[in-house]
Amino acid sequence: MSSRDRSPAAQQGSMTTHSSARTRDRAATAGFLVLLVAFIGLVLVPGYRVADQLSADTAVLKLASEQRGQPAAIAKSLVTIRDRLGSRDFVGQAVKDLGGSVQGFDQSLAQLKLSAAGNSTELRAIESLWSDYRKALDPVAGFKGLPYRDSYSSGTQLNSSGRQLQKDVRQAIKSSRGATDRLDSALAAVGASLERQVVTASATLRKLMLTGVAFACLLVALLAYFQWLKVRHERLAVEAQNQTRDILGTVKDGLFLLDADFRIGKACSASLSALFRRDDFSGMTLEDLLRDTVTEKTLATAMKYVKLLWGERANENLIRSINPLAEVEVHFDRGDGSRDLRYLEFDFHRVKGDRGVRHILVSVTDVTSRVMLARELKVSQANAQVQMDMLLGLLQVDPDQLVSFLDDTSAALAQVNSVLKVPARGDGDFRAKIDQIFREMHRIKGDAATLGLASVESRTHAFEDLLQDLRQRSQLSGNDFLPLVVNLDEILGHLQSIRELANRADALRTNALLTAAPTARAATATPHDAGEHGMTAPLDALAQRVATDAGKKVRLVTTGLDEVPGDLRKTVRDIAIQLVRNAVVHGIEDAGTRRGLGKDEAGLLQIQFMPGERGSELAFQDDGCGIVPERLREAAVRRGDLSASEAQQLDTKASLALIFKPGFSTHDGNGRDAGRGVGLDFVLKAIQSIGGRISISTAPGRYTRFTISLPAQSGQQEAVA
């Protein structure tokens, strides 16, 4: 877009083309003017002169030919006067005619002298002849008065002036004999000379006419050329205009020019209207356009940025990265009250002319999909990071434990699924279902927490939230369980991805074992390989995590867990998880309280497994606050499980049994570790399912001890609290 993208040679080339076209146009105009001046100077003016001369010559020629008869007429007048004098007739008219002829000839001669023939020898000869002839004519022509004297005696006789006249006439007739012919031939010669001149002038005029026609043709050709140029320029201009319109109408970017006052130019691309959902751009400033779109600070910075482009100092390419409008979030009202979010990118380019920056070209692009894509990429990168973390986490988990967890959980979820499918008739059925599902989920959550699978733990916790929500409803129907199905699917999918990741982790581990040196191999082995069948370490991890979450400190000591027979391991582990969780949340006090009581800051949890011939015993003890039966009774009344009077009648043993009721809890919180009243209910069910028994002993402020008797093999004995 910038002028920098065009090579200097190309720029020079186009400049040369423009200037040569301009020079050609100027030359053509100058040629036209020169031709016009030449046409006027060389053709029209001389033509006018020649024509004028020709006209004058023609008149003189006519005059000369007319005067040719004059000498003969004079001679004839003289003879008439002589004859009349002889017959004593009236001579006045003849004398008058002569005078007229003489005067006419004088005037003609004067005219001839002024004409083209004025200097000719013929005319000079005529003048000299006429001058002599005139001397003889003047006395006759100038005669006045009467030439006769009448007397009765001799009749009419010439008087003295008559006799003089007669004498003069005779003298004039004598002169006329030579002069008439000579004048006649001289006039003929003048006529011939004039005629020649007229012919020459006519020829000149004809040539000038032809030249004029040629000039006129040239001028017409030039005019035609100019007209053609004009038409061509107009056609090119229209074509360029159409192309500009097509470009502006088609281009996807919003394009417009800004002047020095930051006003938007008249020519905008059509996309601009679509981008800003408005049409009234003409006369608007950039500030007007952006005012309701960006923050005031961004607007101020944007105006300063554009001002930089009007200046000469900032390098356009080196300030692009600080363009404050590179990604602008824009909201548009859809009309139905909702808003449409778009991201626009403004790009600014200097448009330079001969005298610096002429305009700023602004291109606006809708980059919404790009921005969205970048965000999705970020999210998927974060997901990939989570997966990576999970993978690394899985590497820390004992593979056997993980596989067993995945198998158990899949089975448990299948169980949940089948429970969901069992038709239920009444509210009681629905609530029983919820309790059952709750127990399964709670166990899975405990297992996940033990293994450090936070992603499973949080999902099952969310599932428990749903169940809790259902519990609190007064009426339940089958539809209320639909969200559970959806969530169950999501958890199953997640387990599947964990299984895949576990396989990959396994492959990685195997790879590492194969390639690593024997010493390194020992290091990569999980710490759970040593002692207690890997049960102690996860339980300790769980205890520590729950304690950290609750702001407490604990210490776990186990004995004999490595002697748990294979068929009891799952049950023992499940029970231990719940008891650990329960003890840390409800039993152990926080460090400050413990210090105040003179106890060690870290609460002590003890798990002891003692195998026996007729069955084994699992003991779990914490040195926490113990269980106060009165509190349990209060909680039961608060929950509505018992009336106040019923509660009063419960003895200590019956009160303690309350903690095994489904959903019972004295804890008000709702964290992921306790507060749902599920844990001990679950423990009881687990023990009952294999025919075991559980008993509690507690001393408020000192300890709580659970003693669990487990049969050697699955028995039919009823558990007794």
Binding site: R4, K297, A300, T301, K304, Y305, K307, L308, E312, R313, A314, N315, N317, L318, I319, S321, I322, N323, P324
Partner: protein, 131 residues
């Protein structure tokens, strides 16, 4: 702008201003523009002006956030001393308004931190050639 660009054949002097020793060394080591020779290093605005007066550089790379005197004020003073000096701001782009302000004071271009060797050299070449 052509008047601001000294002829390419002449040796151009470069002053590097940044409060981080690592960045100064990095710029000094990585810049590979022919005819551009590092004549001075400074770690704040006050020092930069002192070194500028001594060495009379043609090109300056300038950080914005520095102790004693920040890059923006320093740019203003350097331009006052030598109006045709070419200044490239090299800074982490926390706030575009600040960067724009530096340009208003007379800086010619901006390079965002962190930068690659290629970005540095391209920016310097653009600064010298495209001025």
């Amino acid at each position: 702008m052509a008047a601001n660009a000294p002829a390419l054949a002449t040796q151009l002097k470069l002053l590097i201003v940044d409060d981080s020793n690592v960045i100064r060394r990095r710029i000094e080591r990585c810049q590979q523009i022919e005819h551009l020779q590092v004549v001075g290093l400074a770690s704040n605005g006050v020092e930069a002006i002192e070194v500028f007066r001594q060495t009379d550089p043609d090109v300056v790379t300038m950080d914005i956030t520095m102790p004693e005197m920040d890059g923006i004020e320093c740019v203003e003073q350097l331009v006052a001393i030598k109006p045709d000096v070419l200044i490239l701001i090299i800074s982490a782009l926390a706030d575009k308004a600040t960067a724009v302000e530096a340009m208003e004071k007379g800086a010619n271009g901006f390079l965002n931190k962190p930068f690659s060797d290629r970005q540095l050299n391209e920016a310097l070449a653009e600064l010298i050639g495209g001025a």
